[in-house]
């Protein structure tokens, strides 16, 4: 069979041998094009990953050589080099601000998401507006949030530079992420579950709290964790709401708070080696926190979702 077939093919092509050559050359060029694109794709991966790996290496190396109990338990003492002892105030302040802003943003975001996914109808105009506004809010540059928070919370409400002003401002940044992920996660819950709940005589409240929220929980928690990891790394909204303090946080109102990103931002620019060391250590801690949260969110939650 086979030899015969090739023979007939050769016969039909015989009158135009140059055409065969042209097609073969054309095919080589067509394949070469993909080779070039694939090479460029690999190149772009290398070009982008090199700085990332360099960054990870630099801060991991510096951080691991600099980390010590003293640097974690003593506080910063101003920017003059000699007494830049440790990051305790910044670590405590960051934890306080993130904790409080989660306290504001998580209930608001999750409740809003529940409204959007469970109570609003398909063509609910108000719900459409909330979704739109939350998208807009997610696109507002963080320094603008900082300015608004400064004017409203620090000056107008008269709370001064404080943990409350800072965490409310950060909560505005976190809200759209939590709202969106809750909305999406709840809408992924199949309707058959809702129908089953109703058929068993459940109230809507029970259905949402006992079934839908539980099923959607991994998605919601992932959204919350990611929004926390974003706000851990924020500086701009805090500059004029938390200001900075060299002391451990002592009060919620009228008391500036230190935080890690501020240490990186200012101490990296100071001409003192000891200040720079603290900046390196703070950057290392920030990266560590962010990487850990991302790992837990992506790997841990994926496992939960399968069950």
């Amino acid at each position: 069979m086979m030899p015969e077939e090739t023979e007939t093919v050769q016969q039909t092509r015989a009158p135009f041998p140059w055409r065969d050559k042209r097609i073969a050359r054309n095919n080589r060029i067509r394949k070469l094009k993909w080779r070039i694109i694939a090479f460029l794709a690999v190149l772009s991966v290398i070009v982008v990953l090199y700085p990332l790996l360099d960054m990870l290496y630099l801060f991991a190396y510096k951080g691991l050589t600099l980390i010590s109990l003293a640097r974690l338990t003593q506080t910063t003492t101003g920017g003059t080099g000699v007494g830049n002892a440790g990051l305790a105030n910044a670590i405590a302040g960051s934890a306080l601000i993130i904790g409080m802003s989660s306290l504001f943003a998580v209930p608001l975001g999750v409740l809003s998401g529940i409204y959007l996914a469970e109570f609003a109808g398909e063509r609910d105009r108000y719900a459409g507006m909330v979704r739109f506004v939350s998208d807009v809010l997610a696109g507002v540059p963080s320094i603008i949030l900082g300015y608004a928070g400064f004017f409203v919370f620090v000056l107008y409400f008269g709370w001064g530079f404080s943990a409350v002003a800072a965490s409310l401002t950060l909560a505005i940044l976190m809200l759209p992420y939590i709202l969106r992920t809750t909305d999406v996660a709840l809408r992924k819950v199949p309707d058959s579950i809702r129908e089953g709940a109703y058929a068993l005589g459940s109230s809507k409240t029970d259905m949402i709290n006992r079934l839908n929220l539980r099923i959607a929980l991994p998605g919601i928690v992932t959204g919350i964790l990611l929004s926390i990891s974003i706000s851990v790394g924020e500086t701009a909204p805090l500059l004029y709401t938390a200001s900075f303090s060299n002391y451990l946080p002592s009060a919620l109102f009228h008391s500036p708070v230190g935080y890690l990103t501020y240490v990186v931002w200012t101490y990296s620019q100071l001409p003192f080696a000891q200040a720079n060391d603290l900046a390196y250590l703070a950057a290392f801690l920030l990266m560590l926190i962010v990487v850990l949260i991302n790992l837990v969110a992506r790997v841990g939650m994926r496992r939960f979702m399968k069950i």
Binding site: R30, K33, W34, I37, A38, L40, A41, V42, S44, V45, V48, L49, P51, L52, L53, D54, M55, L58, F59, P107, L111, S112, Y115, L116, E118, F119, A127, V130, V133, D135, V136, L137, G139, V140, P141, I143, I144, Y147, F151, V152, I172, L175, P176, L179, S203, K204, T205, G233, T235, A236, L239, Y240, V264, W265, S268, Q269, A283, L286, M287, N294
Partner: protein, 326 residues
Amino acid sequence: MRHADRAYRYVTTVASGSALLFLLMIVIVLAVKSYPSIVVNGLKFFTGITWNPSLNGELIRVNGVPTLQGATYGAGVFLFGTLVSSAIAMLLGVPAGIGIALFLTQVAPQRVSRMVSFLVELLAGIPSVVYGFWGLVVLLPLLLQVIEPAMASLFFWVPGLNGQPYGAGLLGSGIILSLMIVPIVASISRDVMLQTPLELIEGGAALGLTKWEITRKIILPYAKTGVIGAVILGLGRALGEVMAVALVSGSALNALPNSLYSPINTIAAFMAESLDSAFTDPSGMYVSALFELGLLLLVITLAVNFIARLLIKQGFVSKAETVIKV
């Protein structure tokens, strides 16, 4: 509906108003606080390049609004720096992001793809101030000592590329910003490329298309909407970025860059650096001008978002279908 359900509905409705309330608060604050600056500075605010609060000037009134004698507020330098550094970031970051997405979906075996995906997502999570710090201690010395002199001597005949190497400036800001938008572009592009229906790809392969032709004629048209959305999202992030740029921009004031290496400043970075010193102005005009900068930045970023929505609504989506039909 039972009482508990009604209460639940009521509570969640009120909670979902918080997003509206916050946005309203931001817009009102910016409008109210920038009003004096809008009245006094007018259109010169957008065209002028001199930012001089003239803090020793006498307190006078212009159109009934207090300001200082001789104060001029021109946002031109910051506007230019914002737009051009973002443009450079897009120029470098968008091809790299799409290239990575192609690598992840078309080139790499699944194991490698998963690892690189994770690293790229890690890049997205790194705090911007850490990017800035790395830029300050690694990128800027490299630019100043190696890259910029090399480029300047190689392109000695191109205006704008043959300037004095400076380190902190336009090029450095563009590179840092491009690193920050790559993960956005790459991960969203990857997701939409993966959604291309398999029968279209198989159909293309059955017709004897090469991998590049399948990518070019089937996957890219199908993914176009999503990729554009990703690019615009990245642009939004680049325009509003503060800390990374503030550390590597060189903080220019009152001078436009005369080459790719000159110091610049952006609206967001300048806002972050200046609010505390603005309170030394007794007339409040400095603070008001900063809030007007914020309003300008908000308008630009929102316009970018609206354009993205319009583009997506106009329906590039049908493009893939037409390709197949023809």
